[in-house]
C-alpha cells in the first residue's frame, strides 16, 4: 500500500513541476495520435458506410475480416511498418523510420480496423429512413452521408474515442516504428514502458495519470460538442 500511495504522490509532484522533457513527451503523444485518428476516422467512416449500404459479394467476409484485424497486436503492426521503412525494406529510401510519420502510419493501421468495425455497427443500426428522407428531400449523396453521420453521431463518437484510446495508449507500434528516441519520438506510452523496465514505477504511474488527465479533458470537450441526444421512438 505504501509504495502505491507514495508513487501516486510522487506522480502528482512531477505533474506540476513543469518539466520541459515531460511536456515534449506529452506533445509527441497527442500530436501523433490526434493526427493519426483524424486521418483514419474519416476514411474508416466512409468504408464502413459503404460496407453497410452496398450489397456486393464478399461483404460479410470483409466485415468479419475487419473484426478479426482488431486482434493484431500493436507490435506486429509496428514490425510491419518497421520492415517496410527499414533501410533494407521496400520503402527504405524514404527515410521515414523512427520519425513521427512512421508512428502516424502505424497508428492509422492500428486504429483502422477498430474504427471500421465499430462505425459499421453504428451505420448498420441506423434507421434506413434517415438516408431515404434526406435523399428524397433532395440531398446529394455526400450531404445525405453527413446527415446520416449526424443522426448516428453518438455511435461514431464512441467509435472515435475507442480508436483514439487504442492508439494513444499503445506502446508496441510506437516503440517499433518510432524508436522511443528521447526528445523526438518518445511518447507517453513508450516513456511509461521505459520507466517500467527501469523499475521506476512511480514515474510510470505519473505518466499514466498525465495521459488520463489529458484524455479526460479531450473527452470532456467532445462531450461538450456532441450535445445531448434525444432517443428516437
Amino acid at each position: 500500500m505504501d509504495s502505491l500511495s507514495s508513487a501516486t504522490a510522487e506522480s502528482f509532484r512531477l505533474l506540476f513541476s513543469g518539466d520541459v522533457e515531460l511536456w515534449i513527451i506529452i506533445f509527441t503523444s497527442f500530436s501523433v495520435s490526434v493526427r493519426a485518428i483524424l486521418i483514419a476516422a474519416p476514411i474508416a467512416f466512409v468504408v464502413a458506410f459503404l460496407m453497410a449500404h452496398l450489397r456486393y459479394p464478399g461483404r460479410r467476409a470483409m466485415i468479419a475480416g475487419f473484426s478479426a484485424l482488431q486482434s493484431i497486436p500493436a507490435v506486429v503492426i509496428g514490425l510491419t511498418v518497421y520492415l517496410v521503412f527499414s533501410r533494407s525494406g521496400p520503402l527504405g529510401d524514404l527515410k521515414l523510420l523512427f520519425t513521427h510519420t512512421s508512428m502516424i502510419i502505424g497508428q492509422i493501421l492500428l486504429s483502422f480496423p477498430l474504427l471500421v468495425a465499430l462505425s459499421h455497427s453504428a451505420f448498420q443500426a441506423a434507421d434506413r429512413r434517415v438516408w431515404e428522407t434526406s435523399v428524397t428531400l433532395g440531398a446529394k449523396p455526400y450531404r445525405a452521408f453527413f446527415t446520416l453521420i449526424h443522426e448516428i453521431r453518438f455511435g461514431l463518437i464512441a467509435a472515435f474515442i475507442a480508436g483514439f484510446g487504442r492508439i494513444i495508449a499503445e506502446v508496441g507500434c510506437s516503440m517499433m516504428a518510432g524508436g522511443n528516441i528521447l526528445g523526438y519520438t518518445r511518447n507517453i506510452p513508450t516513456a511509461i514502458a521505459l520507466e517500467t523496465t527501469k523499475g521506476e514505477f512511480a514515474q510510470a504511474i505519473a505518466l499514466g495519470i498525465v495521459l488520463l488527465a489529458m484524455a479526460l479533458i479531450l473527452n470532456g470537450l467532445l462531450a461538450f460538442f456532441q450535445g445531448r441526444g434525444v432517443m428516437s421512438s
Binding site: S3, S86, R87, L97, F98, M175, M176, G179, N180, I181, L182, Y184, R186, T190, A191, A193, L194, T196, T197, K198, G199, E200, F201
Partner: protein, 246 residues
C-alpha cells in the same frame, strides 16, 4: 506438477542470449524445482527483488547490485560469470575508432566527431556501463548526435543499424544479431569493457516466505563445476559467450 517453484528475475539480454534454454532444463532436473524466469530490464529486475516478488535476481550492474545487497534486500552478491561489451558502428567509421582497445578513447573520438551514437537510455546494466565510460572521458554526451532510445539491447542495435550510428553492445546480443545488421565490430578487448554477472538471493529476513533455501541451492549450482562446463560450453555460431567466474 507439484515441485517447488523458484522465481528468478533476470535481464532480457540474458534470456535473449539463449543460455537459459540450455541450462533451465538441467537446473529443473538436478534441483527438482521449477524455474520461472522473468526476463525484464535490469532496473525492473532489481525492483522485483526489492518488493519480494522473486526469490533470486541475476543481473549485470555491479554498483546497483551492491547497493541492493547493502540495503538489505539481498543476502549476498555472487559473481558467477562474465562476458564483455564491444563498440560497434558503421563500416565507414567516421569517428575513426576501429582497432582501438580502449573504450574511453573510442568514446572521446565519437564525441569529438559528433558521430551519431545511440544510447539505450534505460538504466540497464549496459546503459550504466556506457555512462560510466562517458564519465571517464570527462565529456558529458549532449547534442543531436547522441540519441537515447530507451529500449532493450536488441532494439537498440537495430535502431543503431538503421541510423548508421555507434553503440555499445554486449557480446551475446552482438553475436545473435550480427548477421542482420549493417554495423561492424570496431572496438573490443578493452580492459574497461568487462561485463560481470551477479546472482543474489532475496533476503529471507525481509521476505520470510521467499524460497531462500532453494535459491541458495540454485546459487550453489551456478558455482558448481557442471554449471561452469555448461556455461563455458554455450556457443552461438561457434563463439563462446559467457566465461564462468571461479
Amino acid at each position: 506438477d507439484q515441485s517447488q517453484v523458484i522465481r528468478m528475475a533476470t535481464t532480457t539480454s540474458t534470456e535473449n542470449s539463449g543460455l537459459f534454454a540450455v541450462i533451465k532444463p538441467v537446473i529443473e532436473q538436478k534441483l527438482e524445482i521449477r524455474l520461472h524466469v522473468i526476463a525484464v530490464g535490469t532496473g525492473k529486475a532489481l525492483e522485483l527483488g526489492r518488493r519480494g516478488d522473486v526469490d533470486v535476481v541475476l543481473v549485470h550492474a555491479k554498483p546497483a547490485e551492491q547497493s541492493f545487497v547493502d540495503a538489505g534486500y539481498g543476502v549476498a552478491r555472487h559473481e558467477i560469470m562474465y562476458n564483455d561489451f564491444i563498440i560497434v558502428g558503421p563500416g565507414d567509421d567516421p569517428a575513426g575508432v576501429k582497432g582501438l582497445r580502449d573504450a574511453e578513447q573510442a568514446f572521446t573520438n565519437i564525441a569529438e566527431n559528433q558521430a551519431l551514437f545511440v544510447s539505450r537510455g534505460d538504466d540497464s546494466g549496459t546503459h550504466k556501463k556506457e555512462l560510466s565510460i562517458w564519465e571517464q572521458t570527462g565529456n558529458k554526451p549532449d547534442g543531436s548526435w547522441y540519441r537515447q532510445v530507451g529500449q532493450g539491447m536488441g532494439k537498440t542495435l537495430q535502431i543503431a543499424g538503421e541510423m548508421q550510428a555507434y553503440t555499445l553492445v554486449d557480446r551475446g546480443t552482438w553475436l545473435a544479431y550480427r548477421e542482420n545488421t549493417p554495423l561492424k565490430l570496431l572496438v573490443t578487448d578493452g580492459a574497461d569493457l568487462r561485463n560481470p554477472y551477479g546472482i543474489i538471493a532475496v533476503s529471507p529476513e525481509r521476505f520470510p516466505d521467499t524460497q531462500y533455501e532453494a535459491a541458495e541451492h540454485l546459487i550453489n549450482w551456478f558455482k558448481s563445476e557442471s554449471a561452469h562446463t555448461l556455461i563455458a560450453g554455450y556457443r552461438i555460431n561457434g563463439e563462446q559467450l559467457f566465461y564462468p567466474t571461479n
